[in-house]
Structures are given as C-alpha cells and as structure tokens.
C-alpha cells in the first residue's frame, strides 16, 4: 500500500475531481461535528436555565421567611 499522489498539490487536485471530493468530505465532517456539539450546547443551556430558576426559588424562599436569614446569621456567629 502506498500513497497514490505525488505530493500535496496533486493530492488536493485529485486529477480535477478535487473540488467535488473535498466539498463532500468537508460538508460531512461539518454535519458530524454539529451532531456532537449540538447536544452538548443544549445541555449547557439547560444547566444555565436550571441555575437561574434555582436562584429565583432561593430568593423567593428568603422573602417568604424573613426570620430565616437572621437565624442563619446568628448560627454563623
């Protein structure tokens, strides 16, 4: 088994078929990368939303029990 082309330029040109071959491989790699990145981004987004909701909940809980913060402060001392 040996490399079928004479150098990089020949490899890229592919006897005139280069644009077709490289376009096909490029789009394929792009689509595949997208399939991996998209769920990871969606998960990060979900985590962000979750944290925001938690913060809102914590704030609401704090407002509902005004004595709680004072009690926590006392404990910390």
């Amino acid at each position: 088994m040996e490399f079928q082309f004479d150098g990089l330029a020949d490899f890229l040109a592919m006897n005139g078929h280069g644009p077709y071959v490289w376009a096909a491989y490029g789009i394929t790699l792009l689509a595949m990368a997208g399939l991996i990145v998209q769920p990871l981004l969606a998960r990060r987004q979900l985590r962000r939303e979750f944290r925001r909701e938690q913060r809102i909940h914590a704030r609401r809980a704090g407002r509902r029990q005004p004595g709680r913060r004072a009690a926590e402060g006392a404990l910390a001392e």
Binding site: Q4, H17, V21, A24, A42, R51
Partner: protein
C-alpha cells in the same frame, strides 16, 4: 426477576448513569476509525479505473446512507417499543434518532449529488433511489417538526411513534429501488449473499469507514438521548442534583 433488566433498561436515570462510562470509548473508537478510514480512502486506496478520484466519495456516501437507513429502523422500533410497553426511555431514543438520521440522510444526498456531477454529468436526477432517499429525509424532518408541535410530551411521543411506523414502508423501497427501477443509480457494491463487486484494496477502507460511522452513530445517539433525558427529567430529584453538581 428475569424482567428486571428490561424495566431497568427503560429507566432514564439508569441509562443516564450507565451511559456516561460508554461515551469516551465510543468517542475514541469512532474518531480513530474515521481518521484511519478517511486517510486510507482518500490517499492510499487505488484510483477507480472508470471514475478516477471522484469515487473516493464512496467512503462517506455509502456509510452515511447505511446509517441513515439503519437509524430509521432503530427509530421506528424504539417508537413501537414505547407504544407497546410504555417505556419512557424508548420514546426518548426515538426522538434523539430523528436529527441524527436527518443529518446523515442529508449527507448521503449531498455527497451523492457532488459525486453525480463528475460521474453522471448532473447533480440531481429524479432516479428511484435518490427520490426515495429524499422521502426518507422528509420523513426525518417531519419527525422533528411533529415532535415540536405538541405542548404535551406524551402526545408528541405517540404521534411521532405512529409517523415513524408508517414511514417504514419507505425503507424496503429504498433498498430495492436500484433493482426494481434500473435508472441511473448503480446497484449495491456490497452484498451479503454473493461476493461483492469491489476490490479488497477498496473494500477494506470502506469497511473501516462503515465501522467508524456505526460507532459515531452510537456516540451521537447517546449524547442526544442524554440531553433529552435531562430536558425531560430536570424537575426530578436525581436530575436536579446532577445539574446542580454540574455533571
């Protein structure tokens, strides 16, 4: 007792915890196989006597088309399991399979068009194989649209499962299209029952790429399923704990 594994398999939490250990292996295997297969197919496999170098597109075109079809089976079977046994996870897998299938069908169609130009002299013909693949693409896109059309998840699950099952009619048509209507698309080069009409020096890189695409499919499907599981379960205790810990 014997059915315990079956029920556990249907539990999103069990899946989420187990699958995190599979991901690095699948990622490594698919990246390695794809890198080796691409280098082999692009640089080291011999030129085709008739098509020259344009044939090198086969190393992504055939695996992508393979997985686009296999992915549809997987999606339809998951939908059926969900309908019959009311398994939560299998509906999630069904929905996760839709965008991956759509992307792979698009890749098969795109690489086919780009391959068609230097080989057939045209990007597109309404050939039986190509048209039935376009219908497959539309089915996948329809699945994605349908899954977003309902505000109630359970309703969307059932509607999607029905669409997936009805759409399976298309799959044997795609397989057989090259034999039934002999128009432009060439018949299959790899056959299970007879010897293949492809030289070993071109066949081994193709096998490597097919194996790579299978691993990649599993990797992408598990990632997608995990994200969907979290999106659905984030109000449960285990999921919110995971999200809070940043895992």
């Amino acid at each position: 007792m014997a059915w315990q594994w079956f029920h556990r398999l249907g539990s999103p939490r069990w899946f989420y915890e187990k699958s995190s250990g599979w991901l690095p292996w699948l990622a490594g295997a698919s990246l390695l196989l794809l890198a080796v297969g691409m280098a082999w197919g692009l640089g080291f496999a011999p030129q085709d006597a008739k098509q020259g170098n344009s044939y090198r597109i086969i190393y992504i075109h055939v695996p992508a088309a393979f997985l686009a079809l296999a992915g549809y089976y997987l999606m339809a079977i998951s939908g059926a399991i969900g309908l019959i046994w009311k398994m939560k996870l299998s509906f999630v897998v069904m929905r996760a399979a839709a965008p991956i299938g759509a992307a792979l069908t698009f890749v098969a169609l795109f690489t086919g068009a780009v391959w068609g130009k230097p080989t057939w002299g045209t990007y597109w013909v309404w050939d039986a194989r190509i048209t039935s693949m376009l219908i497959l693409f539309l089915l996948y896109v329809g699945m994605i649209a349908l899954s977003r059309a309902f505000s109630r998840e359970q309703l969307a699950d059932k509607a999607c499962a029905l669409l997936a099952l009805v759409g399976t009619v298309n799959i044997p048509i795609i397989y057989k299209s090259v034999d039934w209507w002999f128009t432009l698309h060439q018949p299959a080069t790899i056959k299970l029952t007879e010897s293949s009409s492809i030289d070993p020096s071109m066949f081994y890189p193709l096998l490597t790429m097919i194996a790579g695409f299978y691993c990649f499919y599993a990797w992408a499907l598990i990632l997608q399923t995990r994200t969907l599981v979290l999106q659905r379960e984030w109000r449960t205790q285990w999921a919110s704990q995971l999200l809070g810990e940043g895992r």
